[in-house]
Symmetry: C2
Subunit: 130 residues, 2 copies
């Protein structure tokens, strides 16, 4: 009886160890709010306005985006630690990691890449759990 | 008479040219909302929690900060364009460029630098006009 109880107890522990990480990942995917911060360096500065007003607004219309803020370098002090060399940024809030993953596959996002990727030379992304 | 009128006209243009940029700068300083986006690379990963919970909250308490969001790298896909190598970020909203300038000189900000700058090896800043 004791050994049966122990077996069941052990089984419970093993089962918890096997399923907990998966549940944790699932919870994080579903509940972890984040900022997807993107900086674009364009081939031609002259395209900045078109990129800002016609291109990136497509990203803001993607259905899983919670909040979208387009930006340009602010006219702050020149300091070694401040990078003013990019042209356009997107600050995109998502309510979960799942929503960011869906955004990566969203047809409107893919259309944006297809239509405008030739305009940028470099893109840098920082994904921020908040 | 004609030459006097032209002189006045010219004076008006010169005066506008001399004062307009100053007014424009003043307006931008007073009205341009922005995000001050900071990424920290720490010498020691083991300090991440202390830096996140004790150090950067000091920045959020600076009086001209409109909104403060501390973050860590989100567990998103590994892609060439995504930098997950930093440890702690601050997303700081200001209602004006003036407010960001005041923040740079704020005693609590200077105390933060004095107390914690030995913990980071690199800091990168992007100032975003929004």
């Amino acid at each position: 009886m004791n050994s049966r109880r122990n077996f069941i107890k052990t089984l419970g522990v093993v089962s918890a160890a096997a399923t907990l990480p998966i549940n944790t990942i699932a919870n994080e995917m579903a509940n972890q709010k984040m900022i997807h911060q993107v900086y674009f360096w364009l081939h031609d500065n002259a395209n900045t306005n078109e990129f800002l007003t016609e291109a990136v607004p497509m990203l803001g219309k993607c259905p899983t985006v919670a909040k979208f803020i387009a930006g340009t370098p602010a006219d702050t002090e020149k300091r070694d630690v401040v990078d003013h060399s990019w042209q356009v940024s997107c600050t995109i809030f998502f309510d979960s990691l799942e929503d960011q993953l869906a955004y990566q596959k969203e047809p409107l996002h893919l259309e944006f890449i297809d239509k405008y990727s030739s305009m940028w030379s470099t893109v840098k992304v920082y994904d921020i759990a908040i």
